[in-house]
Amino acid sequence: MELDFGPAVRDFRDELRDWFADHLVGEFAEHRGVGGPTDGAAWDVRLAWDRELSAGNWLGVGWPKEYGGRGLGLIEEIVFEYEYARADAPYRATVNALDLLGPMLLAMGDEAQKKRFLPPVLAVEELWGQGFSEPGAGSDLASVRTRAERDGDVWVVNGQKVWTSFGIHADWLYVLTRTDPDSRRHQGLTLLLVPTDQPGVEIRPIRNLAGQDEFAEVFLSDARTGADLAVGEVGQGWRTAMATLGIERGTTLLPQQLTFEREAGALIDLARTRGALDDPMLRRRIVDAWISVRIMRTTNLRTIAELTAGRTPGAQATTAKLYASTRHQQLGHLAMELAGPAGQIVGEGYDLDTRQRSFLLSLAETIYGGSSEIQRNIIGEQILGLPKEPRP
């Protein structure tokens, strides 16, 4: 499939393709397709790859030039993500800062914050982790209890955060805190930027079900940060945090869907090798897997077409995540079934093959970024206008 947005963008695309041809070589090329939103495999190689991208000025395609970006538009961002996925380059280690922190700062940060924090993101000099979820605040994010109090010109932060992806690598955290002790729920929250290199911050890895130390829990004990490092207004942290979550989706699902297409192709090849295509039950599920990834593609293209036409994306932009995550899990189950008895065996040190890893990690896709149950609430309430559950 080609995404074609006309001659001007074609030049951009060709420049990018040439760059990949010259730079996605050697060790980087050997790590094609490695890593993912919850997959910390080959971290050091991927970090080096991010620096390679940075040297080529390919990080922050849509960010303003004054902060080190290319200052290009949404179409170029989409083309970049698409070509990136097409080249099957290693998954960017800095994706959290690029996809979440950066856009949040661009939307809600003050000038000093943007100048201070955005260039090091694009230079891959500072890595970021998200401090949103807590042991008692998962889907119900508004019940965060991590406290932040002003002490002169610093904030003092106490509490615990969890599920911080790639947290052990983070130099900085963006943390949702409660700054008004008498507030409830969405009120009285503030989003703070907190450096990890201090005694008050302890980050412990959590091993995920694939055996990787991919995410972390974060203990904040009198952790300190500057009074000037609240993003958005003090007490309006919910708005800031939601702005981050709203930024996702538009461009992020397209590369993911290309990965799924690749997996579906591999699955069909595997089925052919195993002679499974003659089994009518498996055959049906294989065709359905292919249908799923094709529907994801068209759904993403619909959203992209609307975004680039300056329209508000339709309901499909909201339903896409639920569909893709669920169907991807089915694809994973099917791939494992087709792998047969060999799928039961892993390598030394619990080294998983692509199929096993993708299957296991797909279980996170219906949890992170708003679980499927939360997605259904959002669709039911915000798209269909059904009444909210009364609070007890």
């Binding site: 947005f5 065709v287 609307e306 309901a315 259904r376 269909l384 059904l386 559950e389």
Partner: protein, 373 residues
């Protein structure tokens, strides 16, 4: 690349919806469902005269407006929403398309203008007692006699076959599959029997041909590719109709879930119902992608892409509509199970449409064959 609707297409949707809101109300649908003819010729004429729906995608040289398939898909989606009782699918998606695909310029020039103007109700008679939509399923024979071609055999499950002025008949000659035209009104040796249908909003007929004179369209023995292509187009348009039907069913479910109270609050505030409605929307938006992907493929014109998209659209949208229509009854509870409530009209349209152009399993096989699976 343009996978979004233009302002003109949005406007077309508004116009069609407004027309159908007035002329295909639930009362109209129920009246026509109970009527053996199953359609209102007055409304049919206004569809043609006021908005030119029959000729929308017919090229201008044959008296149509020359719009594309995305535009036509908008109309089918709206027709599906309104459960329009009219020979629109038979005439436009099947017959007009078969005429456009066959290699007979003279026949096109003769027959299409009547179809485009709404004067001619037409249909495609392809399936027989086997219910098959593939080439080997065509057994009805055509033989060349001194006075011309004669047809012998039986066609059944013919959409709106009882109404059609013009029957396009797929037949087998010694040379292979051929397409014939029969002017139904005055053709000798033609017996048409309406079949009582589960989905009363779309009528079907059984048609017996006994030495019936017919006009050969195009070259003898070469019609199958054009017919297969016709079925691909019809599959996509039916998918658009299914999307519209499913969307209307969900609208009804949501409206009811907002007002129906149990345990002192609207049932739509319970996750059991809310999440069911959300899943229905996921199904519908995915079906939209399947159907719209087909419409865009039709306008782009790549034959391989069309065959793939058409099979995918039927494989997916058929089951999506049935699922949503079934869930609509569930959301409504007891009232949804009654004859009085319209939910069953959607369920029956869905279940019947699911097999109208071949079962989802058949379309999966078509898709698998195209993909080399």
């Amino acid at each position: 690349m343009d996978l979004t609707f233009s302002e003109e297409q949005d406007e077309l949707r508004k116009v069609v919806r407004s027309f159908l809101t007035r002329h295909s109300t639930e009362a109209d649908v129920r009246r026509l469902a109970a009527d053996p003819r199953g359609h209102d010729p007055g409304v049919w004429r206004r569809m043609a005269a006021e908005i030119g729906l029959q000729g929308l995608a017919v090229p201008e040289e044959y008296g149509g407006s020359g719009f594309g398939y995305v535009d036509l898909g908008v109309v089918f989606e709206e027709a599906g929403r309104a459960l329009l009782c009219a020979p629109y699918f038979a005439t436009v998606a099947l017959a007009a398309e078969a005429l456009l695909r066959c290699d007979d310029e003279a026949a096109r020039a003769d027959l299409l203008p009547g179809v485009a103007s709404g004067e001619t109700v037409a249909t495609l008679a392809l399936t027989e007692d086997s219910g098959r939509w593939d080439e080997p399923g065509i057994r009805l024979t055509a033989r060349k006699r001194a006075g011309g071609w004669r047809l012998a055999g039986v066609k059944t499950y013919v959409p709106d076959g009882h109404l059609a002025d013009l029957l396009l008949v797929a037949a087998r000659t010694p040379a292979g599959i051929s397409l014939f035209a029969v002017a139904a009104a005055d053709a000798p040796g033609l017996t048409r029997t309406p079949l009582p249908t589960l989905d009363q909003t779309r009528k079907q007929s059984r048609i017996v041909f006994t030495d019936t004179p017919a006009r050969l369209l195009g070259t003898d023995g070469t019609a199958w590719p054009a017919l297969a292509r016709t079925l691909a187009t019809a599959s996509v348009l039916l998918a658009a109709e299914q999307v519209g039907g499913a969307a209307a069913a969900l609208d009804a479910s949501v409206a009811y879930a907002k007002i129906r109270e149990q345990y002192g609050r609207p049932i739509g505030s319970f996750q059991g119902i809310k999440h069911k409605c959300a899943d229905m929307l996921v199904e519908i938006e995915s079906a939209r992608s399947a159907a719209y992907g087909g419409l865009w493929a039709l306008d782009a014109g790549d034959e391989t892409a069309i065959a793939v998209a058409a099979a995918l659209a039927q494989a997916f949208c058929s089951e999506a509509f049935t699922k949503v229509a079934g869930d609509t009854i569930q959301v409504h509870g007891g009232i949804g199970f009654t004859w009085e409530h319209p939910a069953h009209l959607y369920l029956k349209r869905a279940k019947s449409s699911e097999v109208l152009l071949g079962t989802p399993a058949y379309h999966r096989e078509l898709l698998a064959a195209r993909l080399g699976i």
